[in-house]
Each structure stands twice: as structure tokens, then as C-alpha cells.
Symmetry: C2
Subunit: 375 residues, 2 copies
């Protein structure tokens, strides 16, 4: 058995370069309560791209190295080097989540019981041929589920579930979601339809309206239309939504959503005093597709909030037991509610192809790449 394995690394060097390589590293060995997973599928999520590219300007990327041992090099703008201070000259293994087959295990009964099973894992360094993990960190899939089917069991499913749980915990009746044609957005619609929750989808393309409508979405507003604000108010009045999750972050959208909520509340008969409606309106920003400042016009009284939202922080907040319940729901519905579709399945070496890099660097296209390290 080989004592080494391949693993995707991203390194920011002292001299202002980003290097992407397929490194050869020692194959790990499981200790008593650990298993060794042969990783077969690991998605490239938008949340992977921060570690992947760091602050590099990927338009400067060039391919060096050989076809067996490729390397991509890109420039890091000098003024952004301080933001990468913590990782300079330290190779960063990539890949937040993925799935594979347990190939061997430590001596504990829990670890031994997983041999041969398909398990999913979140924890980094998943763009690797192998990964050790504590047995109790593995999400064990039902029989018959393949690693490709289980690859995206955490980031999108738990984010969608976390959004719905947040809505319930904070007492809102329905949800708004932006960039809603994303993989996550499609999943969130399936989940909301299953659970009888109204969701107002905001998209930026006509064909995204068609896509979500074909999935059964009841409310889809196209922010590029002149009627957008009126459409949004109407959808908010119909659903009574006072909570939004925004993947975009920058620009006016968060403020526009809050304004539309205020108007919808007033038209729906909420008490409106000198400081506007007293029904709390909330936008959680969970992504940064637009890195520019969030601009909030504040034409909506005083009962409002905008803030960051992160799935792992939310899971920590609800506690181990509640989080475990959500993970079990994901495993049970991995082929239905939480199924992911991939536009490309690529090897570790193909992930460093210049065309791939520029394609999966385009966030929120709805395309999703899957890295298959055994390919």
C-alpha cells in the first residue's frame, strides 16, 4: 500500500504569489477512535474559494509545472498581502467537505463498525485522496448511497436547514432569499416546499425565474425588472416574510428588502407610529458575492437589523443534540431534498486546469464542480 497520497494545496508566498499545487504528502494512519476515509467526491463550494484563491488576482494566473505535476501561479496585489499574513509560506490544504468509503479503522468498536461504509465529513483538507477522521465526526449514509451523492452533505444542507431554524427561533413567518437560483437556493426551495414554508426568491436573471418556478417556487422576484420593488412588496404582503438571507452583501439590496418589508407591513395593517412599524425586520448577510459596502437607506423605522450569519456559528448556538438531529435529516434525505447536481466531475490535477479555475471562480452561476480525488 502506498505510504503517500495526493492533496491540493494553496500557498501564498513571501514574494507575493499564490501557488496552487497537487502536493504529495504522507498518507495518514487512523488512531484507535479514528477511521481512514478514501475520499471519492468533494464539492467546490463558494465558501471554499476564499482559502483556494486567497487575495490573489486570478486573472493573472498562469500554468507552470508538468501535466502530471501542474502548478498554477497568480499575483497577489501588494496592498492585499497583509490580509494573508497568517498563511504566508504555509501550504493550506483545501476542501471543506466531501465523502468517501471507510477503508480502514482504529481499534475502537465505533471506528471498526464504519469499515466499508459511505461517510460524509466536514473539516477541511478534503481535496485529498485520503483523510482520517474521528468516527463520531463521520455522517454515516444509508446503505446504497454513493460518495458522489453524499459529497455535499454539510455546507448547503445545513445552511438551508439553519436558515429555516433561524426563522422559527426568531419568530418570523416566512423567508426571503437572494441569489436564489444558486445550488443552495434550489435546495432551500425544496426544503421550504416540503415544510410548508413560504419563501420569496430574489434573482437577477429571467432564466433563474423560470428555473425556480419549474422547481415549484411560489414567489420569484427579478431584481433587474423595473417592477422589482412593487413585485417584492406584493410577495412580502402575501407571505408576511420579515426575515431575509442575503448572499450578496454589498450594495443597496439589503436596505431595499427592509424598505419593502416596512411598506408591506404598513399596507397589511401593522401599527405604524412615529418610528414606523414595530414589527422587527431582519436581513442576515451570509455571503459576499458583492464585496462593496452594504448601503442601508434606513427608510423603514427603527425595528430592523442587518448582520452576519454563519452556519457553523448557528449550529454551535443550537447545541450538539439539535445539530445532530439536523445532520440525520440530511443523511435521510440526501437523494431528495438535499440532492446536489454537479456540472463537472474533475480530478485533483484537472482542478488546476486554467479553464476550470476561471469557471468555478465565477460564483453563483448555479454551476457546481465536484473534485473526485481517486479519478
Amino acid at each position: 500500500m502506498s505510504k503517500t497520497m495526493k492533496q491540493l494545496h494553496s500557498t501564498v508566498t513571501q514574494d507575493g504569489k499564490l501557488q496552487l499545487t497537487v502536493a504529495t504528502v504522507d498518507k495518514p494512519e487512523p488512531s484507535d477512535d479514528e477511521v481512514l476515509i478514501r475520499i471519492e467526491a468533494s464539492p467546490i463550494n463558494p465558501s471554499d474559494l476564499g482559502s483556494f484563491f486567497g487575495p490573489a488576482d486570478m486573472s493573472t494566473a498562469t500554468a507552470t509545472g508538468t501535466s502530471d505535476n501542474p502548478m498554477l501561479v497568480a499575483d497577489v496585489p501588494e496592498h492585499l498581502m497583509p490580509t494573508a499574513a497568517a498563511r504566508v509560506d504555509k501550504p493550506v490544504p483545501l476542501g471543506i467537505e466531501g465523502a468517501g468509503i471507510v477503508e480502514s479503522a482504529g481499534s475502537s468498536a465505533a471506528a471498526q463498525s464504519l469499515i466499508g461504509k459511505t461517510v460524509a465529513l466536514m473539516g477541511g483538507a478534503m481535496y485529498s485522496e485520503y483523510r482520517v477522521a474521528k468516527a463520531d465526526q463521520c455522517l454515516v449514509m444509508p446503505n446504497g448511497i454513493t460518495p458522489v451523492e453524499a459529497a455535499s452533505s454539510f455546507v448547503n444542507p445545513l445552511t438551508a436547514l439553519g436558515m429555516v431554524e433561524t426563522m422559527r427561533m426568531e419568530g418570523h413567518a416566512a423567508l426571503v432569499h437572494t441569489a436564489a437560483a444558486s445550488n443552495l437556493g434550489q435546495m432551500l426551495n425544496k426544503l421550504c416546499i416540503n415544510e410548508g414554508i413560504d419563501i420569496v426568491n430574489i434573482v437577477r436573471h429571467k432564466h433563474h425565474v423560470a428555473l425556480l418556478t419549474s422547481l415549484g417556487a411560489g414567489y420569484v422576484c427579478d431584481s433587474t425588472l423595473a417592477t422589482f420593488n412593487a413585485d417584492l412588496v406584493e410577495a412580502l404582503m402575501a407571505t408576511n416574510a420579515s426575515l431575509a438571507f442575503d448572499a450578496i452583501g454589498g450594495g443597496n439590496l439589503a436596505g431595499e428588502i427592509l424598505s419593502a418589508m416596512e411598506i408591506a407591513q404598513a399596507r397589511s395593517g401593522a401599527a405604524v407610529g412615529a418610528y414606523g412599524s414595530t414589527i422587527h425586520k431582519q436581513v442576515y448577510i451570509y455571503g459576499g458575492l458583492d464585496r462593496s459596502p452594504t448601503q442601508i437607506g434606513r427608510a423603514f423605522g427603527m425595528a430592523w437589523g442587518v448582520g452576519g450569519w454563519l452556519m457553523p456559528t448557528f449550529m454551535e448556538k443550537i447545541g450538539l443534540e439539535a445539530a445532530a438531529k439536523l445532520r440525520k435529516k440530511v443523511a435521510a434525505e440526501i437523494k431528495t431534498t438535499f440532492a446536489s447536481v454537479y456540472s463537472n466531475e474533475i480530478s485533483l490535477i484537472e482542478a488546476l486546469d486554467l479553464d476550470s479555475i476561471s469557471a468555478f471562480g465565477k460564483k453563483a452561476t448555479g454551476d457546481k464542480y465536484l473534485i473526485c480525488p481517486q479519478k
Copy 2:
């Protein structure tokens, strides 16, 4: 005894004018559980100005009427008329809070027991010679307190107390306050010093630094200095403040405070992952000295929030008993912690003087006007 009384009114007319008048209205009579207060002092708070001026452009104000019966008229810009729809042609009585002497009372024992006492009241229409109120809504002052001393017993004192309670309830160690040389800001410093709470004051003038320092404030940062960001980070590291109350609202300040908090947390050894420090940072906007959009640069991870904060909403949230406890504290400390100083004491008629209007329209100068309806 006169059957009528004087009362300050603000009216937006159908034809796009704002009219300010001293109206003559019926003097009210108390029912069984009510008292009749002869109002002797009522402050002009920044929160009064919204009702006072509506959406009018006060630079267009002209004086009409007579010296005994003055009227001020100003133009309301046409595009702002919809924001005043609810008040068109309806005279709005002004004055959120004030104090006076109970002159007569209804038959109930509770009402009768207040005759002759100095009481403070919050509830609108306080720029009047008289006001009826339920006996149980009156905040009864200790013996020897004058109506002038009791005039500002609600808005600023309960806002300062609400900020400190919010800090405690949401688990923060210390506070940041902007426009901190205001009457409220000075009061908040006195309260924090009494309670051993660190507060970081942000001001925009050198003489405000001197003013707050003379009151014993430990941390005052002047946002007009080139060293402001560094000064703020240092103060945040010293105090561990992760909550700010912002009276300004517009512009970059809220985002700058969050950035400085993030830097302070990282330098103080907080765990900083891919999404920044996980310690929640919060800015509550409670005023709108700058009406321009709030611009948030989001260079501070994902554990952050910005939102509206209103004292009455907070008091409702903590419940009657807790709110009553805070009001009792105000009455007990009205000559010390919660004492207010006024730059001018004016009559109802003098309140419609063009010079007065333009002076108390300048918010956050630290000046505070007191209307004395019996003058």
C-alpha cells in the same frame, strides 16, 4: 378658572405648508383615576423634532400672525408630502415629556394622593399649559424636586439606563457611544462611572473631548483626528467593548466601529478563523443625525450586527416591573445622575421665535431648550 388653555401645534396642510401655532384648546378635566397636571417644564429633545418640523424645509420658515398669537409657516418639499400623509390637516400637539404640579384630581384615592406633588410624565402633548394623565402613569418626584428639575425624567434617563441594561442582557463588557457630548452622552457617562462600566466616547470636536474628560470620562476618541482609528482600537482593547450605540446613523462610522472592534479582538487574542473573530460585535443605531445611508464595509468577519434601537421598544421588551424599577431609579437620582442642564427656558410663544427654532433645530449641539408653558 379658565376653561381653555394654550397648546403648541404643528400642522402639515394639504397645500404643502407646515404651520406652527400656539392653539387655544379646551382645558381637560380629570376622570376618577386621573389627575390634572399644571405643566411647568417640558424639554425639546432631538426626538421631538420629527413631529415638530415634519418633513418641512425649515430654512423657508417665515413668521406670520401677531406677537401674542404667532404663527410660523414653512414649505414642505412636494416629494416629501407622501411621508406626511397620515397627518395632513390634522394639528399635532407636541412635546414627548415634561413635569408639573398636580392641580386637581379625580375621585380615586390614588389620584387624590397626588394633589400638590411634582410629577413627571411621558406621553405627548406636553407643550401645553395643562395635561390630564392616569395617576399610575405619573412619575412622582421626591419632596423638594421642582418641575424644572423633573422635566427630563424619561427620554434621556431611560435611554441611558436602557443602553446599560442592553449591554448586560446581551453579554457585552463595555459600551461605545457616538455623538457622545450630547446631553444623553453626558448622562450616560455619569451613569457608567457610578456603575463601574467602561464607556468609549466618540466625539467630533476637541472641546467635546475636554467636556467629557472634565466629567470623568476615561475614554474619549475624536473622530476628526488622523489617529482616530488607532485611538479607537486602543480604547476598545482597554475596555473590551463589543457593543456601540450610534446617534449618527449615516455614513461610515458604524462600520468603522465594527472594524476597530474586530482588530481589537484579534489583537487581544480572540480566536480568528477564516471568517474572522467569532465574538459578536453589535452597533445599535438609535438616532439619525446623519440621514444619509449607513455604509458598512464588512471588513470584520461574520459575527456582527447593525440595527435600530428604540428606548420604548426596549422598555416593552423588559416588561412592566423591570421598567418601573428603572423609572424609580430616575426619580431617586434626578438631581444627580439624571440631572439635565438647559441653555434656554422659553415660553410657548417664544418657542415659535425664528431664532429659537433655528437653534433647537440644530441637533446634538449639546444645547437643550426647555419650554415653560406657564411662563
